[in-house]
C-alpha cells in the first residue's frame, strides 16, 4: 500500500478533481450526495497522501534525492515541459497537511453550509481547490506549479465571490484575483527567465543547473530572477504591499476562509519559495528581501489587527502576520523553521477560523466582536477549542505555535538579524494581545442579551476538536529536544540549533504579557472604559491603524483615477484619432472626391452618350495614329 501510494501520488490531486467533475456533471441536484462525493474525494486523497508521506519519511534516501516521475506535457524544439510528481519530505508533508486539514474542513462545511442554495456548487469549488492545491504541492515542474498556482487563485476567486449577489463579495473576489495577478506577472517573468536561461523548468534539473551557474558571467541576473519569482509569493501569501486582498477575502464562506485563506493557499507562497530555495540560496540579496518583507509584514499586519472589530478580519490580519513570520524564517535561511510554522499555523489558524465560523453561524453572521461576549457558556466546545487555538498562536508551551514561533525567533537571532528579531519579538507580543483581545471580547465577559447563541451540530464541532488536538500536540514533532522535524525538512544540511533557553523564556514572557494586557483591558474591566480611553487618547494612531494605513484607499485611487483615466484616454484616442482622423478621415476624403465627381453623374442618358462618343473618338484617333497599322493606312484589296 505504501509502495502503491508513493508511485501513484498523482492520485492525490486526481481524486478531488474527479469529485469536482462528478459533482458538476452528475450529482449537482442532490446536495448531500455532492457533499459525500467531495468528502470521499478528499479523504481518499488524504489516505493516499498519508501512505505516501509514511513511505517518504521511512525511506531516508528520499530526503537526499526526491522521487520524481513525470510525463511529457508538451514540447517543441528548445522547450519541453513535463508534468509529474516530485515526492520528497517537503512535498509529502505538504500534501499530508493539506489533505488532512481539508478533510476536516470539508466535514465541517457540511454543517456550516447546510441549507445554502449553492451547497453542491460550493463542494465542487472546494474539491477543485483541493485538487489544485495538492497538485501545487506535488508538482515536479515550475510551470505545472504555476498552473496549479493560478488554479488555486481561480478557486479562491470563485469562493470569495461565492455570495456573488453581494457587491462586497463580488468586489473582494475581483480584488483578490487581480492583486494576485499582478504578483503572478512577476512570477511569470521569473519563470520565463529561468526557462530561457536554463532551458528547463524542472525543479530537479533547475537545482542542479543553478548550483553550477557561473555567477560571474551574468552578474545579478539570478538576483533579479529570484526577486521576480518572489513577487508571486508576495501576492499569493498576502505580504506587504500586496496584502490588501486577504482581509477582504473574508467575504467568502467561513470554511473557505479557514481552508484557503488561512491554512493552505496563502501559504503557497511560502511553499514556492521553499521549493525554489536552490535559487534563493544562491542570492543573498534576494534572501534579505524575503526576510525584510516577512519581518515587516508580520509587524505591520499585527498592528492593524490590534484595532479591527470584525472577527474574521482580525484573524485575516493575523494570518498575514503569521505568514510574515514564515517568510522571515525563509529569508534568514531556515526552511525548517518556516515550514514548521506553516505546519502548526495550518492547524491553529484553521481551528480559529472554524471557531469563528461556528460563532457566526450561531449569531447569524453578526461579525463585530464588540457585540459579542460570554459565548463560552452557550458554546463550550467552540469556545474552549478556540482558547486552545489562542494559546497556540500566542506561543504558550506546549501548544503547537510555541515551538515553531520559538524556532523562528531563534534562527533569526542566530543569523544576526537583530532588528528583525526585535520586530518579530514585538510581533509575538502583539499577536498574543490582539488574539486574546478577540477571545476575551467574544467568549468571556458579559453576554449580549440580543444574542441567542447555540452550540453548533457535531458535524461542525468534531472537526474543531480534531484541529484542537492537532493544535495542541502538532508542535511536538519539532521540539528542540526531539527534533524529528528538522531531520526531514531542511535545505542543504539538517541543522538543529541547540535549544536557546533565553529566547524561549523571552517569548513565553512576551506572550504572557500580551495575554495579560488583553485580560486587563478587555476582560477584567467590565466597562472596557480603559480600552476606549486608550483609543481616544491615541486617536490618530488608532484611526490610521483602524483604516489599515489607508493602503486600500491609495490603491483604489490609483485604480480608479490613474488606470481608468489612462484607459479612457486610450479609448478616446482610438475613437477620435485612430478611428476619427485616420480611418474615417480617409473615408471622408474618398467621399469628398465622390462629391466632386458626383456632378458628372447627371443620370441623363444623352450626357452619357455624349461622353461615350468622345471616348469612342479618342479610341479611334488613338488606333488610327498609333495603332499597329498606322504606318500604312491601306485598307482593302480583294484576295
Amino acid at each position: 500500500m505504501v509502495e502503491f501510494a508513493m508511485y501513484h501520488a498523482w492520485l492525490v490531486p486526481l481524486l478531488p478533481a474527479l469529485a469536482f467533475l462528478a459533482i458538476v456533471f452528475l450529482t449537482r441536484p442532490w446536495p448531500m450526495l455532492s457533499a459525500l462525493v467531495a468528502v470521499a474525494g478528499i479523504v481518499g486523497a488524504f489516505v493516499v497522501s498519508a501512505f505516501a508521506a509514511y513511505g517518504v519519511f521511512t525511506n531516508p534516501e528520499f530526503t537526499e534525492k526526491p522521487l520524481v516521475y513525470a510525463v511529457r506535457w508538451f514540447s517543441m524544439p528548445g522547450m519541453q515541459i513535463d508534468v509529474g510528481v516530485q515526492l520528497d519530505p517537503v512535498s509529502a508533508m505538504m500534501i499530508f497537511m493539506v489533505s488532512m486539514v481539508a478533510s476536516l474542513i470539508f466535514i465541517y462545511a457540511i454543517g456550516y453550509m447546510k441549507g445554502d442554495p449553492g451547497f453542491s456548487v460550493f463542494f465542487s469549488y472546494v474539491s477543485l481547490f483541493a485538487a489544485s492545491m495538492l497538485l501545487l504541492a506535488i508538482s515536479s515542474n515550475l510551470l505545472e506549479m504555476f498552473v496549479a498556482w493560478e488554479l488555486v487563485g481561480l478557486c479562491s476567486y470563485l469562493l470569495i465571490g461565492f455570495y456573488s449577489h453581494k457587491i462586497s463579495a463580488r468586489e473582494a473576489a475581483k480584488k483578490a484575483f487581480i492583486t494576485c495577478r499582478i504578483a503572478d506577472f512577476g512570477l511569470l517573468l521569473g519563470l520565463l527567465s529561468l526557462q530561457i536561461i536554463f532551458g528547463t523548468l524542472n525543479l530537479v534539473e533547475l537545482s542542479e543547473k543553478i548550483a553550477h551557474f557561473e555567477q560571474y558571467t551574468t552578474f545579478g541576473v539570478l538576483t533579479l530572477i529570484a526577486v521576480l519569482v518572489f513577487i508571486g509569493p508576495i501576492g499569493k501569501s498576502g505580504q506587504f504591499p500586496l496584502h490588501v486582498w486577504l482581509p477582504d477575502a473574508m467575504e467568502g464562506p467561513t470554511p473557505v476562509s479557514a481552508l484557503i485563506h488561512a491554512a493552505t493557499m496563502v501559504v503557497a507562497g511560502v511553499y514556492l519559495v521553499a521549493r525554489t530555495m536552490f535559487l534563493f540560496h544562491e542570492v543573498p540579496g534576494a534572501m534579505e528581501l524575503v526576510a525584510i518583507t516577512g519581518g515587516f509584514t508580520a509587524l505591520f499586519a499585527a498592528t492593524i489587527a490590534v484595532t479591527q472589530r470584525e472577527i474574521k478580519r482580525i484573524l485575516a490580519y493575523s494570518t498575514v502576520s503569521q505568514i510574515g513570520y514564515m517568510m522571515l524564517a525563509l529569508g534568514v535561511g531556515s526552511m525548517t523553521a518556516s515550514l514548521f510554522h506553516m505546519w502548526t499555523h495550518a492547524f491553529f489558524k484553521a481551528l480559529m477560523f472554524l471557531g469563528a465560523g461556528s460563532v457566526l453561524h450561531a449569531l447569524h453572521h453578526k461579525a463585530d466582536v464588540w457585540e459579542m461576549g460570554g459565548l463560552i457558556k452557550k458554546m463550550p466546545i467552540t469556545g474552549w477549542t478556540f482558547v486552545i487555538g489562542g494559546l497556540a498562536i500566542a506561543g504558550i508551551p506546549p501548544f503547537a505555535g510555541f515551538w515553531s514561533k520559538d524556532e523562528i525567533l531563534a534562527v533569526t537571532l542566530d543569523s544576526g538579524h537583530y532588528v528583525l528579531f526585535v520586530m518579530a519579538a514585538f510581533t509575538a507580543f502583539l499577536t498574543a494581545f490582539y488574539m486574546w483581545r478577540l477571545i476575551f471580547l467574544t467568549f468571556f465577559g458579559e453576554e449580549n442579551p440580543e444574542n441567542h447563541p447555540h452550540e453548533s451540530p457535531p458535524v461542525m464541532t468534531l472537526p474543531l476538536i480534531g484541529l484542537a488536538i492537532l493544535s495542541a500536540v502538532g508542535g511536538l514533532v519539532g521540539t528542540p529536544w526531539a527534533p524529528l522535524w528538522s531531520e526531514w525538512i531542511f535545505y542543504g544540511h539538517p541543522h538543529h540549533a541547540e535549544p536557546n533557553y533565553w529566547v524561549m523564556i523571552g517569548s513565553i514572557v512576551l506572550a504572557a504579557a500580551g495575554i495579560y494586557l488583553a485580560y486587563q483591558l478587555y476582560c477584567a474591566d467590565k466597562t472596557k472604559a480603559r480600552a476606549k480611553a486608550l483609543a481616544e487618547r491615541y486617536n490618530h494612531i488608532y484611526t490610521i491603524l483602524y483604516n489599515k494605513y489607508y493602503i486600500d484607499e491609495i490603491y483604489l485611487w490609483f485604480n480608479h483615477t490613474i488606470i481608468d483615466g489612462a484607459a479612457r484616454l486610450f479609448y478616446l484616442f482610438d475613437i477620435y484619432v485612430v478611428d476619427g482622423i485616420i480611418v474615417n478621415g480617409l473615408g471622408a476624403l474618398t467621399c469628398l472626391f465622390g462629391e466632386g465627381l458626383r456632378v458628372s453623374n447627371t443620370g441623363r442618358l444623352q450626357n452619357y452618350a455624349l461622353v461615350f462618343f468622345l471616348g469612342v473618338l479618342a479610341v479611334v484617333v488613338l488606333l488610327a495614329f498609333t495603332g499597329p497599322s498606322s504606318a500604312s493606312l491601306t485598307v482593302g484589296g480583294v484576295k
Partner: protein
C-alpha cells in the same frame, strides 16, 4: 479512406447544405436550421477525423488534392493540410458548427441567413486548406461578400450603425486584400521570371523567391504585412475590429473574431514569412513594436468600454498583438505559440461572442451598467461567460495559457523589455475581463431579468463544443502543440538559412 477526397468533402459539405436550403420553402425554419447544422457537423466531424488521422511523424502536406486549373498562371486547385493549417481548419469547423447553434434563434429570414453563413464557413475553410496562392485569394474574396450582407441585414446598431459597421468591416477587408493582391501579383511576376515556370503554389513560390533580391523581398513583405496585418487587426489598422464586431450578428462575430481574423496570422506565417524570409527578418522589429502597441493599447481601450462586444472586440485586438509579437520573434517556439494562440483565441472569442449574443438576445442590451446579477438567473450562461473570460485572461488549465506562455518565452528571449510590456498586458486583461464578468454576472440580481430563460437545448451547443475544447486543450496541450510543431519545424528548417543570412538590418 485512401483516395476519398476528404478535404473536398469538408469544404463542400456547407456549400451543399446551402444549396439544399435554397430549395426549401422559407417558412421551414426548423428544417433549414437542421440542414445547416448537419452540413457544418459533417465538416466538423471530418475535420476532427483528419486532425487525428494526420500522421505527425510524417509531417508535410497530407490529404493532398491537386487539380490543374489555369496552366498559364501556374494555378492548380491544390488542397492539402499540414500542422499549421489543420488546427485552423479544425477551429473553423468547431466555430462554424457552434455558430449555427448560436444563431438558432434567428427568425428573421433564416433561410438567407443560414445560406450565407454556410457559404462564409466554406470560404474561410478554403483559405486554410488552399496550398495555392491564387486559390487562397479566391476563397478570401468569397468570404467578404457574405460578411457584408450578414452584417447589414442581421446586424445591430449601437454606438455605430450596422451599415457603418458592415461597410467598415468590408472596406477594411478589401483594402487589405487590395494591397495583398498587389503584393501577390508582383511576387508572382517576379518569381515566374526567376524560375521560368509560372507556379502559384506556396512551395513553388517559396522556392523561386529565394532568388529575389533583398530589396524585393522587403517591399513585397511590407505589402503583405499591411494586407495580412490589417486583417489581423494589427495596430493601428485595428479600428474595424471593435466596431465591426459590435455591429455584426452573433454568428458573424464568432466566425470573424474566431477564424477569419486568423487568416491574417496564418497568411503572415504561411505566405509572407515562408516565401519572403529575408523581408520578414527585416520587418520583424516593426512587427514586434506594432504587436506590443496593440497588446497594451487595445487592453487599455478595452478597460474603458461599457458595451460587452466592444470589450471583446478590443480584447481580440490585444490578443492578436501577442500573435504578431510571436511571429516577430522568428523562432520555432514563437511560431508554435503564434499558431497555437490563434487557435486558442479563436475558441475563446467564439465562446465569448456566442455568450454575449445570448445575453443580448435575452436581455436586449449589451450595456454593462444595465446588466448585473445574471449568474443567479442564468447560471449556465454565467459558466460560459466566465469560461471565456478566464480563457481570455490566460488562466492556466484553459487552452490559451500554454500558447501565451510559449509566446512569452520566445519574445522575452528576443525582445526583452519590449516583451515585458506585452506580458504586463495579462494584468490589464484580467482587469477588464473580470470587471466585465463581475458587473454582468454578479452583484444583486435585477428584477427585470427574473423571467429570463437560461440557455438550454440547442443553445447549449456552443458552450458544450467550445467549452470542451477550451478545457481539454488546456489540460492536454500536447494535442495542439504536437500538431502545430509538426508544421512549424519543417517550415522553419526551410527558411532558417535565409533568416541567418539576410540579417542586413
Amino acid at each position: 479512406m485512401d483516395g476519398f477526397p476528404v478535404l473536398l468533402t469538408i469544404l463542400l459539405a456547407p456549400v451543399v447544405a446551402a444549396v439544399i436550403m435554397a430549395f426549401i420553402p422559407r417558412e421551414e425554419h426548423m428544417l433549414i436550421k437542421c440542414i445547416a447544422a448537419t452540413g457544418t457537423f459533417i465538416s466538423m466531424a471530418l475535420s476532427l477525423y483528419v486532425y487525428f488521422a494526420y500522421d505527425q511523424s510524417l509531417g508535410g502536406l497530407q490529404f493532398v488534392q491537386q487539380i490543374p486549373w489555369i496552366k498559364d498562371l501556374g494555378v492548380t486547385f491544390f488542397l492539402g493540410v499540414d500542422g499549421i493549417s489543420l488546427p485552423m481548419l479544425l477551429l473553423t469547423n468547431l466555430i462554424g458548427f457552434s455558430a449555427v447553434f448560436a444563431s438558432w434563434n434567428v427568425n428573421h429570414r433564416p433561410r438567407d441567413f443560414f445560406i450565407l453563413l454556410c457559404l462564409l464557413i466554406a470560404g474561410v475553410m478554403g483559405t486554410f486548406v488552399a496550398q495555392d496562392l491564387f486559390i487562397f485569394l479566391l476563397f478570401y474574396e468569397v468570404v467578404v461578400i457574405p460578411i457584408y450582407i450578414l452584417v447589414i441585414i442581421w446586424g445591430s446598431t449601437k454606438r455605430v450603425t450596422k451599415e457603418y459597421a458592415g461597410m467598415k468591416l468590408t472596406i477594411y477587408l478589401l483594402i487589405g486584400s487590395a494591397f495583398l493582391l498587389v503584393g501577390v501579383i508582383a511576387l508572382f511576376m517576379k518569381t515566374a521570371a526567376i524560375s521560368g515556370v509560372p507556379d502559384m503554389s506556396f512551395t513553388g513560390l517559396a522556392r523561386a523567391a529565394q532568388g529575389l533580391s533583398d530589396f524585393d523581398q522587403k517591399w513585397l513583405f511590407a505589402l503583405m504585412l499591411f494586407g495580412f496585418g490589417s486583417l489581423l487587426s494589427m495596430w493601428p489598422f485595428h479600428s474595424w475590429s471593435p466596431d465591426g464586431y459590435a455591429g455584426a450578428p452573433t454568428a458573424v462575430s464568432m466566425i470573424h473574431a474566431g477564424v477569419l481574423k486568423k487568416i491574417g496570422g496564418y497568411g503572415l506565417i504561411r505566405i509572407a514569412l515562408y516565401v519572403l524570409p529575408v523581408g520578414a527578418k527585416f520587418w520583424a522589429p516593426v512587427i514586434a513594436v506594432l504587436g506590443v502597441c496593440g497588446v497594451a493599447y487595445a487592453a487599455m481601450a478595452a478597460l474603458a468600454q461599457k458595451d460587452l462586444k466592444y470589450i471583446v472586440g478590443y480584447s481580440s485586438v490585444s490578443h492578436m498583438g501577442y500573435v504578431l509579437l510571436a511571429v516577430a520573434s522568428l523562432n520555432v517556439i514563437g511560431l508554435n505559440g503564434a499558431v497555437a494562440n490563434m487557435f486558442a483565441h479563436g475558441i475563446m472569442a467564439a465562446l465569448f461572442f456566442s455568450t454575449i449574443g445570448f445575453i443580448y438576445e435575452k436581455t436586449h442590451t449589451r450595456w454593462i451598467p444595465d446588466l448585473g446579477g445574471l449568474a443567479r438567473q442564468a447560471p449556465r450562461l454565467a459558466v460560459a461567460f466566465m469560461l471565456a473570460a478566464m480563457a481570455s485572461l490566460g488562466l492556466p488549465g484553459l487552452v490559451s495559457f500554454i500558447p501565451e506562455f510559449t509566446i512569452f518565452v520566445a519574445s522575452f528571449k528576443v525582445y526583452g523589455g519590449l516583451a515585458v510590456v506585452a506580458i504586463a498586458g495579462i494584468i490589464i486583461t484580467a482587469l477588464y475581463a473580470l470587471r466585465a464578468g463581475a458587473n454582468t454576472l454578479f452583484g444583486p440580481p435585477r428584477p427585470e431579468y427574473d423571467s429570463l430563460r437560461d440557455i438550454r437545448g440547442p443553445e447549449l451547443v456552443p458552450l458544450a463544443v467550445l467549452g470542451t475544447v477550451l478545457v481539454v486543450g488546456g489540460i492536454l496541450p500536447f494535442l495542439l502543440f504536437d500538431m502545430v510543431n509538426s508544421g512549424i519545424v519543417p517550415l522553419m528548417a526551410e527558411i532558417s538559412g535565409a533568416l541567418q543570412l539576410g540579417g542586413s538590418f
